[in-house]
Each structure stands twice: as C-alpha cells, then as structure tokens.
Amino acid sequence: MSDIFKKIEEMQDFLRIGDEVIPFLGDLFKFIQDVMPLMNEIQSSFTDSSSKIPDAKDRLQDVTDATEMATQEIMDKLDSINDGLDKISESVPDETKKEIDNIQNDVMDITFALQFQDITSQKLEHAGRIMQAINEKFGKLSKATEAVKVKTKVGKRIMAELSLQSDPEKVNKESTEFNEKTKDVIRESADFSQDDIDALFD
C-alpha cells in the first residue's frame, strides 16, 4: 500500500514540475519563433556584406599606399627646396641667411605636418581589423543559424512557416538597397584611358 502512495506522490511531483515547465517551454518556443526570422535576415545580409569586406579592406590599403606615395613625393620636393636653400645660404649676407633659416624652419614644419599620413594609415588599419573581426563574428552567427535551421525540428518548422510568409520582392529590394549603398564611387577601368575619353569628344 505504501508503495502505491509513494508512486502517487511521485506522479504528483512530476505533474507539478510539468505545470511549471510547460509554460516555460511555451515562452521559449515563442522566443525562438521571434528570434529565428531575425537570425535569418542577418544571415542573408551577411551573405551580401561578407563578400564586400575583403574589397573594402583592399580599398583602405590602397588609400594608405596612395597617401604614402604622395607624401614621399612631397618630402622629395621639400628636401630639394632645403638643399637649394643651403646652397644659396653659402653666398649671401647674414641678413638674408636669417631669412633663409626662417624659410627652412617653415619647410621643417611642413615635413612634420606630414605625420598625418602615418597616423591616418594606422587608423585605417584599425578600421580594417574591426571590419574583419565583425565579419568573422557574423560568420560564426551565420553558421550557428544555419545549424539551428537545418538540424533542429523547431528550426525546420519555423523556416517552413517563414518561407510561406516570405516576400521575394521585399528581399530583392533590401538586397538592391544594400548594393546601392555599398557601391564604389571610384570607377576605374584599366583598358579605358584619358586618351580614349578625349577621343569620344573629337
């Protein structure tokens, strides 16, 4: 008899736990149902944006290389001005030497102002590393989302519902908007020179 009572008590405990767990599972399911579309959207955006990251990083490096080259050219000119002034300084009166000295100090100030090139390059490099790190994080999130979508029953069910609700026009519009926003403003063509452009006006 006591065994029967014990079994009944165990069953009551089980039902009590069930009463607490079932609403929790309901909430959890609702949460997953809300989060999945968002994850799905992030995943499709990621596919668009991740392909642009390497190109964006290369562009930042191009900026660094171009400013580096331009800075070196400016420095060549400044050095040449300084050398010229040194030569002139050898054969002029003291009064003029003072003037030349002032000009050389100004040249030195211009040289020092060119430190901006190094500082800007470091900032661009930092921005590139941040982009890369975010890209990697989104990559992981995307893989995790894919796993939930494909490997879990809940994921499959939600995805089936989502595909019924999905609006291909909206998806296309968002993708076009993204591509438009990230379109390159500098459009170069190696096989179309200034001469080719001028020829069109002849």
Partner: protein, 124 residues
C-alpha cells in the same frame, strides 16, 4: 655634430624620413633605419649604437617586444630608448616606463619635443 649612432625603428617610411630629418637638424649624422623589431635586432648586431627611437605599433615584432628584448640583453640594456607612437593612453605610457624606456613621444610631435626628449635621454 653628435657622435652617437642612432637606430630608429618605424614601419612607416614617412615617419622614418621625418625622424631622420629631425636628427640631422639636431646634429646627428650617423643613423641606422629599421622597419620593425626583428629588423632592428638584426641591424644592431656589431653596431655601436648610442640611442634607439622606436615606434610601438609595427608588424613582425612591435616596439614593446623590441624593448623587452633589448632590456633583457646585457649588450643592449643600457642603450637609452625613446618610444615614438600614436599610443597616448596612460596605461601604455606606464607600461613603457616600467619597461625602462628613457622617453615617450606621442605622434604627432614637433621637432622641439623630439629634440628635448633626445637631449634628456642622452643626459641620463
């Protein structure tokens, strides 16, 4: 003319040139240039260098690692080192001081600032 040979380490050709011009203006005439820490250690071999100016952020081996290498080597530990860097946070400076650098200059700097730090480092 100042007799000390100076090693300056920076991955930016622009900065190396600015430092070189400043050193010339101050009166130094004997330089060794290096692009990063490993390059600096290789170029230091067999040289009698009296002052080192080093950037912090560099590829291969950064300035902090270079200072650690130099301070851990009996041959180089007494050479005064000045850090020239974009890292101006207090904790960066404290780290550098603890490592035993003789001076710390934050970019962008003026010729006067660099000159002052070099003179102070050489007097120590």
């Amino acid at each position: 003319m100042i007799d000390n040979k100076v090693l300056f380490v920076d991955d930016s050709p622009t900065m190396r040139r600015i430092i070189k011009n400043t050193l010339k203006k101050i009166g130094f005439n004997d330089f060794i240039e290096a692009e990063h820490g490993i390059d600096a250690l290789e170029k230091l071999e067999g040289e009698d260098v009296g002052l080192i100016l080093s950037d912090w952020n560099m590829p291969e081996m950064n300035g902090k690692q270079l200072v650690e290498e130099l301070k851990g080597n009996d041959k180089y530990k007494n050479i005064p080192i000045i850090m020239i860097t974009t890292r101006g946070m207090k904790e960066d400076v404290i780290t550098a001081v603890k490592m035993g650098v003789a001076g710390y200059v934050v970019k962008p700097f003026t010729p006067e600032i660099l000159k002052g730090k070099i003179q102070k480092a050489l007097q120590k």
